[in-house]
Amino acid sequence: MKAEDQVSDETRTDSRKEAGSGAGALRPVLRDNARNVVRRATSLLSNVEEALTGSYKATYGIAVTRILMGFTGLGLLLTNFNSRHYTFGVGSAWNGEINQPTSDFPQMWIFSLFHQVAATPWLFTLLYIALAGLAIVVMLGWRTRVVLPFYLIFWISFIEVNDVAGDQGDNAYRMFLLAMLFTNSSMRWSLDSRRRRRRKERAPRPIAQKYQWAPVTAHNLALVVLAFQVCAIYVSGGLYKAGGDPWAHGYAIYDPLQTAQFGTWPVLSDLLTTWGPLVVLMTWGSLTFQIAFPFLLFNKYTKIVALLGILSFHLAIGLLMGLPWFSLTMIAVDAIFVRDRSYRRVAEIFKRLCGRSNELKDPRVYQYKWPDNRKEIALSLKGVTHELNQSRAPR
């Protein structure tokens, strides 16, 4: 109310100025307008506040992100296990990293663990396996709020041991994980959520309920950061490329696919790059999808196009260019752009396909069937209508 009063004061001053020119009739119109603007602004603000602090968004999406991020970490560790000493440890001492690390991270004590043990093979192996164990725990979503920070610290400490072995995917992985610390990523599809379901009878502590807005806000803002980061990667990546001749003339993907490092499937590379028009389509297609990605997200249908397009772009990079873990990292965060409703539908379909019946556990599944005692249902429906009417009644 206070804000509105102030604004109407201002309009009064304005109209007084205009009164001289005989525009006194404008006064109530202006006042109404100003009130309207303030009312709309306040309601917009409270809508934003409600959206930000009211409930967790993209709860299934971030769960998928958590699972895929854990899987990426685990996969990277497993596929480098045989070469762990060659790439990160005593076999790679020739690069001087053990004496003087190149990256900033090993020089910060919190991220220095793996660097300190790199020269002790058995300890390095032990920690390597422990990190893989943590990755599994992250995937499963067990005590995620506690485990995830440790996983992040150990992960950075590990991946930065040999700077040269890394790629930009490591930067993305680190920044995504950091943002994920602020999310409630184990709210769905996790051991945490199963435990919470089982303990449901126990009422939440009132203090926790009172400050529920804090974790919710952190979660939703972290989602904003993740979404922005992903979009920034795509758009900047696309724009940086757009100026180059090979991209402009549509043959850019041919060049790296012909090198040994980024053409790990030479026969496939040759096959895909023989017919020129296909190469141009893939080159321009990847550029277009990268640059247009955030703008396609605004509409439900173009969003599907964007996600499918960028998914195939990553699958192609992951397979053809030998960068599976980078691709999976990006796919993991793209998962937050799919709505909860869609995930729930997919889960239902999946459950039905697997023939797993949750009817006894989950009453929601019942609603698809016509129950035996219609009277009871009718009564409960009546109850719902009554409740709805009550909640709609003017305050």
């Binding site: 005593v90 076999g91 807005w213 804090a214 806000t217 803002l221 060049d255």
Partner: protein, 260 residues
């Protein structure tokens, strides 16, 4: 219905905290935007070096990969050695270490990171070598291996042709790494009798796009970086076994040394 004072105080706390969180998030997004975008005058709105202080190292990133032009060539790191065979010195053939590592990635859906170590070393040495002047490049081509002080003599010779000796440090560091790597490769391939090594880093472009379907097309000429013979370099903590075990497990078999 007036809210109780504690309730409204709670609301104020909430709004203040949420506003602070939103402002911080806004700053993070703005800083990320400035950092990811090409450097521009817009960066001046952030005072001092607050931007890089905030972004580095946690949010360090660069997305101009494959831009404006994607990589269009291979890097090679070749190694040969002089092996002492019962008092008789023998010069070995060249071995392409990059091919050995690369063979661990080809036709594998999940290539190990080990596959690109030599390529990365070749690329960074070549980069630093291009920073040398013609006189220095000529010095690098000479052999330095006699006695224990050969690397000091190399450094001194390079410094003679340098206005700012600090600039040499990066090159010398890469050369030391490459020599240490070459030593590991040589010992893995030819055994313990290695007394001297020589590496050659090179780049070769792929067949140009326009000629890709021409069966007689040849790849463009190889562009080598000529470096002379060097003494062996073994870094502290280096495990020859850990190196050789994995290097020699590659599908591209080059290790001929008789283990028995």
């Amino acid at each position: 219905m007036n809210p109780s004072p504690t309730k409204s105080r709670g609301r104020i706390v909430k709004r203040l905290a949420v506003t602070a969180a939103v402002i911080f998030t806004g700053w993070h997004l703005f800083a990320s935007f400035l950092w990811i975008a090409p450097p521009s005058a817009l960066r001046n709105v952030v005072p001092g070096d607050a931007l890089s202080e905030y972004m580095i190292p946690m949010f360090g990133q660069s997305w101009s990969v494959f831009a404006p032009e994607p990589i269009n060539g291979d890097y090679y790191l070749d190694v040969r050695a002089i092996v002492d065979d019962n008092g008789e010195e023998e010069v070995t053939d060249w071995v392409r270490a990059t091919d050995v590592e690369q063979s661990l990635a080809t036709y594998r859906p999940f290539p190990p990171r080990a596959a690109k170590l030599a390529v990365a070393q070749a690329s960074s040495l070549r980069g630093e070598w291009h920073g040398l002047n013609a006189d220095q490049q000529a010095v690098v081509e000479l052999n330095y291996y006699k006695d224990g002080d050969w690397s000091d003599r190399l450094e001194a010779a390079l410094s003679d042709y340098s206005e700012e000796p600090e600039e040499l440090e990066d090159y010398l560091q890469e050369e030391q790494r490459a020599t240490a790597y070459a030593t590991q490769v040589a010992q893995a391939v030819w055994g313990e009798g290695v007394t001297r090594v020589q590496f050659q880093v090179a780049r070769q472009d792929v067949i140009p796009w326009g000629q890709r379907n021409d069966p007689s097309a040849q790849r463009p000429e190889i562009q080598p970086v000529p470096v002379g013979w060097r003494g062996v370099v073994i870094q502290e903590h280096q495990s020859q076994d850990a190196f050789a075990d994995y290097f020699c497990s590659a599908p591209e078999e080059v290790c001929v040394a008789d283990e028995g």
